[in-house]
């Protein structure tokens, strides 16, 4: 099966085309995982590259992610049935006191597109919710988002509480948001930082390799 056309639909943000070709592939007996790994994800990789090189802007990224998400909605139930495991488990949320969600939503979408299982805890999230997600084995990576200098300190609080709960070593913490910097991330003891959604996916993959190696 030639997946180039499917990848192109994702790259071009052709939501309908992506859906049609996904259904067509399934009807031809193509495995859902193959559709994802050889059609959808390579398409999103190209989208990521175009975003990094400033060829694509946010509308393009959103539309390609929408195409991917439409296909994933069709394929996800089939994967569960086949008990195929995912790349990694992520819990993501905007910290307490902060209701901004655009960046967080985009990171969540792209992580799902890259094969992660993502639990979106939402906005204005209590630190305890992040700790719970880790303690219950739902998250190997926790992604924290904040848009305000006044809510950023919650990131340190969450990291501290993960320590107090005795689960800090079980999880990698990644932080992001407009006022967040790599040096702030290091200062507060985070494991990773990303300046935008596309590099967040790359960073998550790197962190996961380290995480799995250390378990």
């Amino acid at each position: 099966m030639d997946f180039v056309e499917l990848s192109s639909c994702v790259i071009e943000g052709d939501v309908k085309g992506t859906e049609e070709r996904t259904r067509h592939a399934l009807s031809q007996g193509v495995e859902p995982l193959a559709i994802i790994n050889e059609g959808l994800m390579p398409g999103m990789d190209v989208v990521g590259e175009k975003f990094k090189s400033y060829e694509y802007f946010l509308p393009d990224l959103l539309v390609s992610a929408k195409a991917m998400k439409t296909a994933m909605a069709i394929l996800q139930p089939l994967l569960v049935r086949q008990r195929v495991s995912n790349v990694g488990r992520v819990a993501i949320g905007t910290v307490k006191g902060d209701r901004h969600d655009v960046g967080k939503n985009l990171v969540g979408m792209l992580l799902e597109g890259a094969g992660f299982a993502v639990v979106d805890l939402g906005i204005d999230v209590e630190p305890a919710a992040f700790v719970k997600a880790v303690a219950e084995g739902e998250a190997q990576i926790v992604c924290l988002s904040a848009l305000l200098t006044t809510t950023m300190p919650m990131m340190r609080t969450i990291i501290d509480q993960l320590g107090e709960a005795g689960v800090r070593g079980q999880v990698k913490v990644m932080v992001g948001g407009a006022p967040v910097t790599a040096s702030y991330a290091a200062q507060i003891g985070a494991d990773g930082y990303a300046p935008d959604a596309v590099s967040a996916v790359e960073r998550a993959k790197e962190l996961l390799v380290v995480h799995v190696r250390n378990q």
Binding site: G13, V15, Y54, F57, L58, P59, D60, L62, V63, K66, K96, G97, D98, R99, H100, V102, N105, L106, I123, D124, L148, T149, T150, T151, A178, P179, T181, P195, D196
Partner: protein, 384 residues
């Protein structure tokens, strides 16, 4: 240049000539304000006899109404002209932490935080053009907005020598995003451009209509009209410049034209983020000044901006609120001010202010350092 009034100082700078010193803004532009937490600490630090519990606070941003004592301590050159509230579709309180505004957008406040728009009337379902046309848009000629306005403007003009800033309540892209959803409207630009444009058309009609209605009353008294929109992220504009030019720019041109048809005021656009690729377009449609110059964003290097655009647009802001003001020492703040004045002030065309509202995490010493060093370094000719 002896004896310039505050107003003359601002006008001179906006006309790209050098006044006696760089003008300073605090509370003129709506986003160059101060959160009540920062203000409480400041008045204590300055030893002022003011009761923080009596200070009027703006509902959404929790910014403080600044006293004349504070504004004069920092010799601020501008004063805001306050509009009245709309009478026809006033905001409706839903509960203590949420309300529906004049446009039908729902706003929510998390505990300890400030209000943010949560859900727009066209957000849960994609609207048709008929839905957009039928919608009860705000009335541009709502009399509530101009109640007492002319008298307030006249008094500001005749009884003070400050430059007068009028903050327009609404703009264009921001309103589209609030009505339709932030990501939804950006997706529309690609997937459903007719709807994206339909919304642009209506938000511009409302905003331009309001501008004309208000400025018919007070256009002769206003020195600066402030438009607060948002077109940029940390590292790039929301949309590719080509798309901006094709689809969005004509609406901004319409709004600027509406303002200039009723007033000789300079038009100041606020847009956060990395908007460097759009500045040429802003100049081309007649914008006179750009705020806030988010120096922490990509390509917003003040030296480069001045070199490329400084002759044609005034820069308003540039004192970093992501790192320097909240986390720096007073010496760091002084150095920040010195750097921005060095880069932006020569030949006029610069008004110094914080990049965004001074938040509660900014120590009062830093606020003092900012304005005092702006006074010290801002004397023309610039020698720093």
């Amino acid at each position: 240049m002896a004896g310039l009034s505050h107003r003359e100082r601002v006008i001179t700078a906006l006309n790209h000539e050098e006044p006696d010193r760089v003008p300073r803004d605090l509370g003129g532009a709506t986003t160059a304000n101060m959160n009540i937490g920062a203000y409480t600490k400041l008045i204590k630090h300055l030893g002022l006899d003011e009761d923080p519990s009596q200070v009027r606070i703006s509902r959404r941003e929790r910014t403080a109404a600044l006293s004349e004592a504070v504004l004069q301590r920092f010799d601020i050159d501008l004063r805001p002209l306050a509009l009245g509230s709309a009478e026809k579709n006033p905001a409706i309180e839903l509960d203590e932490n949420s309300f529906r505004d004049e446009w039908g957008v729902i706003w929510v406040k998390p505990e300890g935080g400030h209000f943010i728009n949560d859900l727009g009337p066209f957000q849960t379902q994609e609207p048709t053009l008929a839905d957009v046309a039928r919608y009860p848009w705000p009335d541009p000629r709502d009399p509530g907005r101009i109640k007492g306005l002319r008298e307030r403007a006249r008094r500001l003009r005749e009884e003070t020598d400050y430059a007068i800033v009028l903050g327009m309540p609404f703009t264009i892209v921001r309103e589209c995003q609030r009505m339709r959803g932030f990501t939804e409207w950006l997706e529309d630009l690609v997937l459903n451009p007719a709807i994206a444009e339909g919304l642009l058309d209506y938000t511009t009609t409302v905003s331009a209509g309001i501008a004309e209605f208000i400025l018919a009353e007070v256009g002769e008294y206003v020195d600066v009209v402030f438009l607060a929109d948002d077109l940029g992220f940390q590292d790039r504009p929301y949309m590719r410049p080509e798309l901006f030019r094709r689809m969005v720019k004509p609406y901004f041109r319409r709004l600027v034209d509406a303002i200039k048809s009723k007033s000789n005021a300079k038009v100041l656009l606020h847009s956060d983020g990395s908007v460097y690729p759009l500045i040429g377009d802003f100049i081309e449609i007649g914008l006179d000044a750009l705020n806030p110059i988010q120096v922490s964003a990509k390509d917003m290097d003040t030296r480069r901006l001045k070199a490329e655009f400084g002759a044609h647009i005034t820069f308003w802001g540039a004192i970093d609120t992501h790192r320097v003001l909240p986390m720096g020492r007073p010496e760091d703040v002084r150095e920040e001010v010195r750097t921005r004045i060095r880069d932006l002030a020569p030949c006029g065309g610069y008004v110094v202010s914080s990049v965004h509202n001074i938040q509660a995490d900014v120590p009062p010493e830093n606020i003092v350092a900012m304005f005092d060093s702006a006074m010290e370094y801002g004397r023309y000719p610039i020698t720093v």
